[in-house]
């Protein structure tokens, strides 16, 4: 492994070690939380990925047909794993996350919960004004909850730092084919869990070195895929992909390439810069923009990266990705792009996933001759 991986800052599967370290860690969930606002107030935003561990705390609050990505966050909170957080922020996405806001406020009352309204329609002429008011309101709420006053200068400084992070993560993705999937996503996930300056410094150093020694170059026959899904908190799939010898050359994950694709423009009003970036993103399946088709984007990505196929990994009971799956797979089928659908659960078994991915790879290599 390259030396940079020996840096414990990039060992992210246990987010709690990261959470303990930074000043005023603040958890966040969903791909539309304006992290920069919290950062500018002195908080360290840390994404709460779901884990495969189940402490049994969420099951008594949530129906059995709730996706585990949300269930795990509540479980971690109720079992004390997140006690060191100074707050949690959730932006409007799906019905389950909306329910999570209610359950959090009722069952974890000691921890401030910041709900962020996010327009569903990203193309609406009125969405920007609404989002700006939401962000301004959020700024007041953060300040009232003990964060320091957020000046425009503070905010611009945070925005610049986050822009730098996004630039660096895009560079990581440019090297995606040279990295084993667990390493690729360890670097990506670290962007959401490591204090920003530290991450940027480490990643800048990392990217200044050759990624892999020549003898570790990716074998030419390796199958390359694009990965589609939500936040893929459980690293089990990445391990399976590595085991089977699949390379991920890009993704359509909620917290993946689409999230880092757009920077804030460093001009004018900083809140407007934040709002405009959120509105400019390729929508996740929970939001809507008639001119930004996810299926067209995916197909273009397949062509651009010369991917052999697509793996769609959906959390069971995730409604937005469930519907999205139909549109995406129809587009892929029409374009004759091989795809595999995987349904992930709290207790997904590596063996079963491995068998399915192996069969998929076999199918691709046979078709490819």
């Amino acid at each position: 492994m390259p030396a940079l991986f020996s840096n414990p800052r990039f060992q992210t599967p246990n987010p709690h070690s990261v959470i303990r370290d930074p000043q005023s860690p603040l958890g966040f969930v969903t791909a539309y939380v304006p992290e920069e606002l919290f950062h500018a107030a002195g908080f360290t935003p840390v994404f709460i990925f779901h884990t495969s561990s189940d402490h049994g705390q969420a099951r008594s609050h949530l129906p059995g047909f709730t996706c585990w990505a949300a269930g795990s966050v509540l479980d971690q909170a109720l079992s004390g794993c997140l006690d060191r957080l100074t707050g949690i922020a959730l932006a409007k996405t799906c019905d389950t996350v909306q329910g999570l806001v209610d359950l959090w406020q009722r069952n974890v009352p000691s921890m401030p919960c910041f709900h962020v309204g996010m327009p569903v329609r990203l193309d609406s002429p009125t969405a920007r004004a609404y989002l700006l008011t939401e962000l301004d309101d959020l700024r007041q709420r953060i300040q009232a909850q003990g964060g320091r006053a957020i000046s425009d200068d503070d905010l611009w400084e945070s925005i610049a730092l986050y822009n730098q992070t996004r630039t660096l993560v895009r560079q990581v993705y440019a090297h995606a084919a040279d990295l084993a999937p667990p390493d690729l996503y360890e670097l990506v996930r670290a962007a959401f869990q490591t204090p920003k300056r530290l991450y940027n410094d480490n990643l800048t150093r990392l990217l200044s070195q050759p990624f892999l020694p020549p003898d570790q170059k990716t074998p030419d026959h390796s199958v390359s895929i694009l990965l589609v899904g939500s936040e893929l908190g459980d690293p089990i799939l990445f391990d399976v992909l590595a085991h089977v010898g699949v390379r991920v050359v890009g993704d359509l994950l909620d917290l993946g390439e689409r999230y880092v694709a757009v920077d804030s423009v460093m001009d004018g009003d900083p809140l407007a810069a934040l709002a405009d970036r959120l509105l400019a993103l390729l929508p996740t399946p929970t939001q809507h923009h008639p001119q930004r088709s996810r299926s067209a984007h995916l197909l273009a990505l397949v062509r651009e990266r010369d991917a052999d196929g697509v793996i769609l990994a959906r959390q069971k009971f995730c409604d937005p990705h469930g519907f999205d799956h139909v549109q995406l797979t129809q587009t892929l089928a029409q374009a004759q792009v091989p795809y595999l659908t995987l349904e992930l659960e709290q207790a997904s078994q590596a063996g079963q996933l491995c068998t399915r991915v192996e069969a998929f790879v076999e199918m691709i290599t046979q078709v490819g001759g």
Binding site: Q98, G117, Q330
Partner: protein
């Protein structure tokens, strides 16, 4: 097995609703037709003379007519995961294979109108319909109501979108919205809503003249025909019949012994059959959160602000403390002895916080609460044996 008095007005409502579907089939060739979600401001379309149909209502119809499973399977074969909303799956199945659907499917729409105040599923469902039909889609984005009353900037946002919505409808139909026409439609909506609320309040009488499954059938006009004289007529008849029952001391469940509160959408695939064990035990569902959701009144003074406030404040778009207040208020006013909550696999906004609601009712009001997991339309997700046993145990506790 006991017999239960049937409401004559429900027969008339069923006739009106059947005519409504058939009429729309006929007029779809001459009049623009929009599919619309149940929480959308239909008054604007009604005032423009645009016919409306509700895929959710049709999903319920598929469930009631035992057609949902076959249609869900059609959608699943087309790639829709089986854990998605059964209304959506059944309706998409009907679009893909109308020959197997009740009424041979719904007529093809010209426009799609999706309001996000009831769930996120409708966004995905209507996106799918827009792709299937290749027709224009308007999304009215109604943010979650975190406080009561709603924050002013949310109302401003919804009002602005409603004006955009009017422009969009006018552009697509070459019709003009006349303020006086909108005012008269809103007046009819207000009448229907007021009558509906009065009907629901009659459940406070002992014995209650109306039972939950009756209300689930009776609610169709306040959803699908609001803004029309037909809805007002339906509810005037129903209200008179219920008042007559009260005057005569007739209860919906003869020998009413227990008064219950229902939470969530109905179990359409076995509506009266599902409630039969309760009725046999003398238990009447005197109130429920589902039909109550259509009692939010429209403020006529400023029609757009009034609609924005009403459609933002629908029950399942409210935060948990406000919903809890509504539920505990219903429990107190209707003097219920317990609550049955339908953990509906197809409706996350209604279902996801139910365990906490149960705890609140148990701890604050001392009420027994039964949570039953099943589905509103997909009978494959219903376990008859387990349901029967749990209901029997609950009735014993009462």
């Amino acid at each position: 097995m006991s017999t239960y008095p049937r409401l004559q007005s429900l027969r008339e409502i069923n006739r009106v609703m059947t005519r409504y579907y058939l009429q729309h089939k006929l007029t779809a060739r001459f009049k623009p037709l929009a599919y619309i979600t149940s929480g959308a401001p239909v008054e604007i379309l009604e005032a423009l003379g645009i016919a409306t149909l509700y895929p959710e209502n049709y999903g319920a119809l598929c469930g009631a007519r035992k057609a949902a499973v076959g249609l869900c399977e059609v959608a699943e074969a087309a790639g829709y995961p089986a854990d998605l909303c059964s209304y959506a799956r059944a309706h998409v199945g009907a679009v893909l294979r109308p020959q197997d659907a009740p009424l041979r499917g719904m007529p093809r729409p010209d426009l799609l109108v999706c309001c996000t105040n009831i769930c996120g599923t409708v966004l995905k469902w209507y996106q799918a319909l827009a792709a299937l039909y290749d027709i224009p889609l308007f999304i009215l984005d109604v943010p979650f109501q975190r406080t009561t009353p709603a924050e002013p900037h949310i109302i401003t946002y919804v009002v602005a979108q409603m004006h955009e919505f009017v422009d969009w409808l006018e552009a697509h139909t070459s019709r003009r919205l006349r303020p006086e026409q909108l005012a008269s439609v809103i007046a009819l909506s207000r009448q229907a809503i007021a009558l509906w609320e009065e009907i629901l309040e009659l459940g406070q009488h002992r014995p209650s003249p109306v039972n939950g499954p009756d209300l689930f059938v009776a609610m169709a006009p306040v959803v699908a025909l609001r803004g029309t004289q037909r809805a007002v007529d339906c509810y005037q008849s129903l209200k008179s019949e219920l008042e007559q029952r009260i005057a005569q001391g007739v209860g919906a469940v003869p020998g009413e012994r227990h008064r219950l509160l229902w939470d969530n959408i109905a179990v359409w695939h076995r509506l009266y059959r599902f409630f039969r064990p309760f009725m046999d035990a003398g238990a009447c569902f005197v109130a429920d959160t589902y039909t109550h959701a259509w009692t939010v009144q429209l403020d006529a003074e400023d029609p757009f602000v009034g609609m924005a406030q009403a459609y933002t404040g629908v029950f399942i778009n409210l935060n948990l403390p406000t919903r809890l207040q509504t539920i505990t208020d219903l429990a107190r006013r209707f003097q219920v002895d317990g609550m049955v909550m339908h953990a509906n696999r197809s409706c996350k906004p209604f279902s996801i916080t139910q365990s906490d609601v149960r705890d609140e009712l148990r701890d604050v009001l001392g009420l027994p609460v039964l949570i039953l997991e099943t589905d509103m339309a997909d009978s494959r997700l219903h376990n008859e044996g387990a349901t029967r046993e749990r209901v029997a145990a609950f009735l014993e506790i009462l």
